[in-house]
């Protein structure tokens, strides 16, 4: 980690000590890195530079924003309260599916309730909060690792139920043998089963810009700017939505969490994390607090799910496999659980360097090697791409090895993820910014001797 420490020391302290500046500097650095690598890729592939950069950055913005949102939501459970909830994917699924079912037209396949989108959204949050409240009941009496098993089991139960044909609502003819519409007090609906379900919109930016075929004045302007820069409308939409998530939603989550954390309720949460028995002895009803925090946190996860997976126009149960939960956990752990700034930083670092980074690196290496091979052995040469491990590694051709590795970067990415998790747990379990974990007391009890106020976050050498 000495390289990391040296890098960290090179960062001016004016940035390190101010959360806003730190996040902005991190984002700026990440964007710069991606922009430079994308410019290089575009030049190597003879593509237009600006659209390529714009497309890459809009994708990056979206990923950073959604992982930051989810990490912040998880921080409420794991960072503040110490509840080891690894059922995040399930709560996201409840949010996205509730909204989709509430907003689906009654005559469709599967049928839904046909509510307007804003009401469906609120309804979905209420439903997610209720499901979270039910999920909290095990949390009242279980230790952390049992809670982990219960929540991951619950998220699999949710996914399997959504995946089941039995409730899918795809066969709407009541006479049919395979009629599978759920009929609840006369309200008919279905989950879509394994085929998935349509979410209300495939282009959230159209709420601002108007429908894609017929944009309003703001849309005309935005798309016009896009055209003048050589960027097509879908990239403009994606960029708009990503920026909305990053600037407004992440900020809103951040502010909300800071406020919860500083409230009396937040102090009880932190007290539960430190020692539940003590909190109980001081007369706090920790059971009720846990139920409430589960409801709020799950609603935040549901909203995050809606803003993330609900924004593609279509979703199926396999989107919500436990691996999504582990992604979010990794983001929070990398950033530092217990710290809101850490959550955002973790979301950004995870999205940019662990999730998207290996792929980008593979593209750059591929382009660079391609260029090198052309200069060495003439035009037409390219990196071999063996189609399986045996073909690649039964030869003694390092280029074949490299080609196979680049082609299979997606599985290497998971290995990297695993290695990072283990490394963090062994060497830096508090994460990048976890040393800023807010303590339960409102005054710092640990620094009695010195009269100087502790400079939070200035020191990072463990």
């Amino acid at each position: 980690m000495s390289v990391g420490q040296r890098l960290w020391r090179a960062v001016p302290s004016s940035i390190k000590e101010d959360d806003k500046r730190l996040i902005i500097a991190l984002l700026a650095g990440t964007y710069l890195l991606y922009a430079v690598s994308q410019v290089y890729l575009a030049l190597m592939n003879n593509a237009d530079v600006f659209p390529a950069v714009a497309n890459s950055l809009q994708n990056l913005t979206f990923l950073i924003a959604v992982y930051a949102i989810m990490a912040l939501a998880l921080n409420l459970h794991w960072g503040y309260t110490g509840l080891f909830n690894i059922g995040i994917a399930g709560f996201m699924a409840v949010g996205v599916y509730s909204m989709s079912i509430l907003a689906a037209p009654p005559g469709g396949s599967p049928p839904g309730f046909g509510l307007p989108v804003p009401i469906a959204l609120i309804g979905a949050l209420v439903i997610t909060a209720i499901v979270g409240g039910i999920a909290a009941l095990p949390a009242l009496q279980l230790e952390a690792d049992y809670l982990a098993i219960v929540t991951v089991g619950l998220s699999e139960i949710i996914r399997l139920v959504l995946n089941a044909d039995y409730f899918s609502g795809t066969v709407t003819d009541p006479q049919s043998n395979s009629y599978n519409v759920v009929n609840l007090f006369g309200f008919k609906f279905g989950t879509g089963g394994g085929q998935g379900i349509n979410t209300p919109t495939s282009s959230p930016a159209s709420y601002l810009y108007g429908p894609s075929g017929d944009p309003n004045a703001i849309g005309e302007l935005a798309y016009g700017i896009g055209v003048s820069l050589g960027v097509n409308n879908s990239v403009v939409n994606g960029f708009t939505y990503g920026m909305f998530l990053l600037l407004f939603v992440v900020t809103a989550y951040y502010v909300l969490l800071v406020r919860i954390g500083n409230s009396p309720f937040g102090r009880v949460l932190k007290a539960i994390r430190e020692d539940e028995l003590v909190a109980q002895s001081l007369g706090k009803d920790t059971r009720w607090v846990k139920i409430k925090v589960f409801m709020v946190g799950c609603a935040l996860m549901g909203l995050g799910g809606i803003l993330w997976q609900g924004s593609f126009g279509f979703v199926n149960p396999n989107t919500f496999r436990p691996i999504v939960t582990f992604y979010i956990f990794t983001a929070l752990i990398v950033g530092g659980s217990g710290s809101n700034t850490g959550s955002v930083v973790g979301g950004a670092v995870f999205a940019a360097f662990l999730f998207e980074g290996p792929r980008q690196l593979a593209r750059v290496v591929e382009a660079a090697m391609g260029g090198l091979l052309i200069t060495v052995s003439g035009p037409g040469a390219s990196l071999p791409s063996p189609n399986n491990f045996y073909v690649a590694f039964s030869t003694l051709d390092p280029l074949g090895w490299l080609g196979y590795t680049i082609g299979n970067i997606s599985s290497l990415r998971f290995i990297l993820l695993g290695v990072v998790l283990v490394y963090m747990m062994q060497n830096r379990s508090e994460g990048l910014l976890g040393h800023r974990k807010e303590i339960a007391a409102s005054v710092d009890l640990s620094e009695r001797k010195g009269n100087v106020a502790p400079t939070d976050g200035g020191e990072t050498n463990e």
Binding site: A144, L160, A164, I333, F414, I415, G418, V419, L421, M425
Partner: protein
């Protein structure tokens, strides 16, 4: 006297734990429903179907047998999970991928031996990647199966010991949650290392065309049972007895019990704790690997996420049997296996896993010490 005591105890449960009583009532209803169904009796007063129905005994027999097969694998794999939970105090989420590791190590060995001994001539690359499908069976290459079984155990032990050396040993003094998170990391790395080599597609590996089928007559029908299933049942039961003797006849079992009870006390008593931990990994990892080999033998298909898909069922079995108990893990696994298959009498097959996970959650909530009272039997 005793009956009166039991009666009052039952009344206390009813008053103090209504949920437990309700659960008992549901189970009782399901059991009587099952008995009536097999007896072909249906009770439907005033046209409302109350209980009973129709279920050929042979169908039920097949469900139970299928459940037993899954259950034996779950139980066998659960032994290691339960041991590491009891002795190292963490829920090892990488255990499912130990199963996958064993399956791939074992079947690769079986395939290579099949390639050398069978009269087939595919390119070696196809053998290595299981692209040559359905090559080996108990009949055409028994040696390959036996050596594959051994290799699955040994290979997994090797991987598990290396992982313990690199990942878990430096973290012995940390709590359960950091270890759990690290084990998730191990699970991901291991699973996708397998994907990196073998790819994501599932491959059929066993040849079923020439293996003998037996039919057990039961009630009004017959239960089919093939030689691969018999191999699985015999091997799994033999291994379970092996573990039993190992833990009962050697000092190892006692040392493990001592460590599960109090690690520090065990250490000051002179128990070589690191060696016991290594033995735990060897037994647990080996059994997990063999379980992976056997389930592939029975199902005929190998894929990179088979172990992960089994993991929650294994957790369910271990929790049902009581965490830390080896016999509980075996029994709990078998119960979960049978319950998940017999549940198909009432619910569509989409929900079999849902039922198993629900049982797991209910047990954790109402009887966290497990069905057998949390007796640590090593």
């Amino acid at each position: 006297m005793e009956i009166a005591e039991r009666y009052s105890a039952g009344k206390r449960v009813l008053v103090e734990h209504p949920a437990v009583a309700l659960l008992g009532a549901v189970l009782l209803y399901l059991l009587s429903d099952l008995i009536l169904k097999t007896a072909n009796v249906s009770i439907a007063p005033w046209g409302v179907h109350l209980i009973g129905g129709q279920l050929p005994v042979s169908n039920l027999g097949r469900f139970v047998l299928d459940g037993l097969i899954v259950g034996l694998v779950v139980g066998l794999a659960g032994v290691g999970l339960s041991m590491t939970y009891g002795i190292l105090n963490f829920a090892n989420f990488a255990h499912g991928d130990y199963i996958t590791t064993g399956a791939f190590a074992g079947w690769l060995t079986a395939y290579i031996i099949g390639f050398l001994t069978l009269p087939v001539d595919p390119p070696f690359g196809d053998i290595f990647l299981f692209a040559e499908s359905s090559l080996v069976s108990v009949v055409n290459a028994p040696v390959a199966i036996v050596l594959g079984l051994v290799a699955s155990g040994l290979g997994t032990v090797g991987v598990v010991l290396l992982l313990d050396r690199w990942v878990y040993r430096p973290m012995r003094d940390k709590g359960g949650i950091p270890l759990l998170i690290a084990s998730i990391g191990v699970a991901l790395a291991l699973r996708y290392a397998i994907v990196f080599v073998f790819g994501t597609s599932a491959s059929g590996v066993t040849s079923t065309s020439d293996i003998p089928q037996f039919e057990i007559p039961l009630g009004d029908g017959r239960i089919p049972l093939d030689l691969h299933e018999i191999t699985l049942i015999v091997a799994a039961i033999a291994l379970m007895f092996g573990v039993h003797f190992l833990l009962q006849r050697t000092k190892l079992g006692k040392a493990m019990r001592a460590m599960a009870d109090n690690k520090d006390l065990a250490q000051v008593t002179g128990i070589p704790t690191e060696r016991i931990i290594r033995a735990t990994w060897i037994i647990g990892g080996g059994l997990a690997g063999v379980a992976g080999f056997l389930i592939v033998l029975e199902r005929g298909v190998i894929s990179f996420n088979m172990g992960w898909r089994l993991l929650l069922l294994i957790f369910a079995g271990v929790i049902l049997g009581g965490i830390g108990s080896v016999y509980g893990a075996m029994a709990g696994g078998i119960i979960i296996g049978i319950a998940s298959r017999v549940s198909l009498v009432w619910i569509p097959s989409d929900f079999a896993r849902v039922a198993a996970f629900t049982v797991m959650i209910l047990v954790l909530l109402y009887r966290p010490e497990g069905l057998f009272g949390g007796v640590k039997t090593a």
